[in-house]
Amino acid sequence: MRADIIKTYKTLHTWTGLIAGMALFICFFAGAMTMFKGTLDRWAKPPGAQAQWVAGDQWLLLMQKTLAAHPEAAKGFTLHLQPSENIGAPLVWDANPERSRFDPQAPWGATLDEQGELVTAPFSTSPMANLVDMLHQTAGIPGDGHHLFGVYVMGAIGVVYALALVSGLVVLLPTLVKDFLALRRGKNLKRFWLDAHNVIGLTSLPFHLMIALTVIVFAFHDFLYDALSLTTYKERPLFEMHEHHDRGGKPWQAISCLHRRCWLTCNKPLRILFPGKCSIWGR
């Protein structure tokens, strides 16, 4: 390949790699930890009295009593069938459903005591797991509007990152066959590090490309939709409008749905989301 192409793309690779790498280091590290978000959330909860959990035959009673005493819970609650350190009570609803994604949650929990009486109380959650997730999404850059400001910054970093990936590939192409999987530990230690850089970079390239392109979409999808709407779809709606499901389900429907769905297959159901059309979630 021509030397001038290599020289241009080497410069491009150096600078895009340096700029993107610093922000990406934070996001990658936090992203790897976010894989364990649920576990972190359980770990961060200080040990204390665990709320009374309810037996399977009392789920319906708990739901009915909660809805009678706290009608606002009908907007949506989660029934946790199994106890867990980070969950304050079997039935949890958000007492502030109008909050934005960035406001702190205001979770309330409900359970039944030994006499079958309803006990409700607000409980606090640890912000740690969410903080790690926010670091993953924004690299810690503060500010938010319709989207988090840091997400836009990382979208721009995603562009720089994509340039770094392609330019690195271009630079490596002429010596690809010779250099790939070679790890030379000679006198020149720089050669060794470059070889390591190449073998790691090339084997993980598909994943890196996927990350770079999806970050751009995560950050800028609104603009991409607008551009498509403006140039291509015009008055055609981008999204099919589905008729709204009846969200006013009844607690017994959730129970019968759970039994229907879990008759043979799920021996350990974890959550019922209400209202909803029979959504039973594992964790």
Binding site: H221, L228, T231
Partner: protein, 101 residues
């Protein structure tokens, strides 16, 4: 040593980068729009807008990352500008051709 037939490419970082960013984006949107009309299922295929939206980033980054291969920034603007204009003209007249305006 024989002189290289083609002169070396100029870096022209600013003009090429702007061409990749602006013209690359406009071209990517047009490619995606053309695929929306001419690709499998046509404009009305359900949920195809998702593919078209996601693919813009792929087209855009492909154009942008290869824009530095142009010999000069001016050539990048001329070639990409013509391609972008042509793609958008094609996209504009496509509904008439398909009789779906």
């Amino acid at each position: 040593m024989a002189k290289p037939k083609t002169p070396a490419i100029q870096p022209d970082w600013i003009s090429k980068t702007l061409a990749g960013a602006l013209l690359g984006f406009a071209l990517a949107v047009a490619i995606s729009g053309l695929f929306a009309w001419w690709g499998p299922g046509g404009i009305g295929a359900p949920d195809k807008v998702q593919f078209n939206m996601w693919a813009i980033s792929l087209y855009w980054m492909t154009v942008w990352s290869l824009v530095y291969l142009f010999r000069t920034g001016l050539r990048a603007w001329l070639v990409l500008g013509s391609a972008t204009t042509a793609a958008h003209v094609a996209l504009f007249i496509t509904p008439q051709i398909l009789g779906a305006a």
